[in-house]
Amino acid sequence: MAAEMRLPTIQKQGSMSIYGKGRKDLVVPGDIITSDTGFMSAMIISCLVRLFSFPHKGHGTYVDEDKLTASVAGEVERVDKLICVKPLKTRFNGEVGDVVVGRITEVQQKRWKVETNSRLDSVLLLSAVNLPGGELRRRSAEDELTMREYLHEGDLISAEVQSVFSDGALSLHTRSLKYGKLGQGVLVQVSPSLIKRQKTHFHNLPCGASIILANNGFVWLYPTPEQQEEEHFIVSFLQYINCLMALAAHKVLLYDTSVLYCFESSLQHQVKDILKPEVMEEIVMLTQQKLLEQKG
């Protein structure tokens, strides 16, 4: 039994300032990004893109008296001549091919509604799932009636974005063996911008844990299937969870290497101590050092 109480301490903003201060590409709403007309044409391109209702991102900009102005706080991204502002804090803006983890919120006719941390609930069509009995099976009326048996309100699934509707809602599919209903495990929710885009978002980590770092910020941690349960399996599993929380609290990008390094740095501490602010800071510092070393 333990109840640890303490006075709050003022967090040092030092570690943040390396990235934060003096960077010109960070803007707040109303900041003028450029008045260079060369970029204007880029704006027009983006307008055209919008007109043809292609899936577009939140640009985060608007034109005010021939000046390109930011409408969200965030980082300026230039792709060729197109300027976007990527907000620091955002809901998930899905793109085709993104891996997501979501929770079923509603069972409707021929479709499930899925909460995926996006602006609107995503849709998983009955025709976009693999039902038992082969991929090419026709969906019958019975399948419609037994939808709730297959996926129930509250269940978690992993899926891929199949298409994006014009209003921004996502349509998902689970037509691959790696996707589908999630079994035992733990969900950790972080901001979608903390997930690094990678070739694969499914990773096997040491000590019998596997992880799905979904693009929408839902991180699913589960025991690696077909692996003998090791003795300290549960402890190291919990260690991973707390490492994820620590990394997210300090706004470190999440990908297999950062999670692994954080796990290694945290091994000297007891699992339950990891979430203490000072331990958390120490572990994250160590992780960042390791990441820098690896780069350099």
Binding site: M1, A2, M5, L238, K272
Partner: protein, 292 residues
């Protein structure tokens, strides 16, 4: 009614198995609290205030003292009034009626917790019997909600009561026999409350065959019933209540009261030590406030 999260059956199984092995999702044991931070004197317009952070649950308590008329049943005592506000700030579910219901439930429990003679010496709050007394308005504000509101709230109240400074007053009678109340000019000349006997609440959640303290929202979703106990530093129980939609075996109730007494009793010493430490640091200590 309480802000709830959705948890799938598979996740529940995982949480249940962990608790069976005394290992919770964040690595704690069954009777461990999350990391707790306490700061008093955080709002300048109050006579006493405290902010408690327990995991992601944040509770702010402000105490205002006012002069009122004693209740006719007890003319020589002051009294405490509790109000709990669950604003939509904490979670959108509190918007509208949802927060109101929870707020009344919490404040009604607080009245019960303090419904005894020894928690606070109410006689000291009397100014002149039958005419004037101090009324302490204890206002609780939930700023963030991540489970275990009761415990966080009671600790914040104890800290805020410790911090409360009641101005000294004098009663002078004029020639015609009327009475006047004079407030002391010196702001440092004030009365402090003895909070030694103020109880702390322990919420025990029954999960599977075991019980846990300081449940997070996920863990709470796995539990059908919990027991709320307010325990003093001597281990006296001033209030118990079963909450939630399930029932409990008498034997498990006895196990839970035993554990609740042990855990609750142990909360007081570190809390008092911390409050005294903060007090001794005095004004030099820089306040952290709301964004630590």
């Amino acid at each position: 009614m309480m802000a709830a999260v959705e948890v799938s059956e598979a996740e529940k199984v995982y949480i249940l198995h962990g608790i069976r092995d005394d290992l919770r999702v964040d690595g704690r044991g069954c009777e461990d609290y999350r990391h707790m931070e306490i700061e008093t004197d955080v709002v300048s317009n109050t006579d006493g205030s405290a902010k408690v952070t327990l995991g992601h649950t944040v509770v702010l308590v402000g105490i205002k003292t006012e002069i009122g008329k004693p209740r006719p049943m007890v003319p020589n005592e002051g009294y405490l009034e509790f109000f709990v506000d669950c604003s939509a700030n904490a979670t959108p579910e509190f918007e509208g009626r949802g927060g109101e219901e929870l707020g009344t439930e919490l404040s009604n429990t607080l009245y019960r917790v303090f419904n005894n003679k020894h928690s606070i010496d109410l006689k000291r709050l009397c100014i002149s019997p039958g005419e004037h007394c101090w009324v302490l308005y204890v206002d609780v504000l939930l700023l963030q909600c991540d489970g275990n509101l009761y415990d966080a709230m009671s600790i914040a109240i104890k800290a805020a009561l410790f911090n409360t400074k009641i101005p000294k007053v004098f009663i002078s009678s004029d020639d015609e026999g009327g009475k006047d109340i004079e407030l002391s000019d010196d702001p440092y000349d004030c009365m402090r409350l003895n909070v030694e006997n103020v109880p702390c609440i322990v919420t025990l959640c029954k999960v599977g065959h075991r019980h846990i303290v300081d449940a997070t929202l996920q863990e709470k979703a796995c539990s059908v019933a919990s027991l709320i106990m307010s325990v003093t530093h001597k281990g006296t129980v001033t209030c118990t209540r079963k909450v939630g939609g399930g029932s409990l075996d008498p034997e498990s109730i006895f196990e839970m009261t035993e554990a609740g007494k042990r855990v609750g009793k142990a909360l007081h010493a570190p809390l008092m030590k911390l409050l005294e430490q903060e007090e001794s640091l005095g004004k030099k200590q820089q306040k952290v406030g709301f964004f630590g």
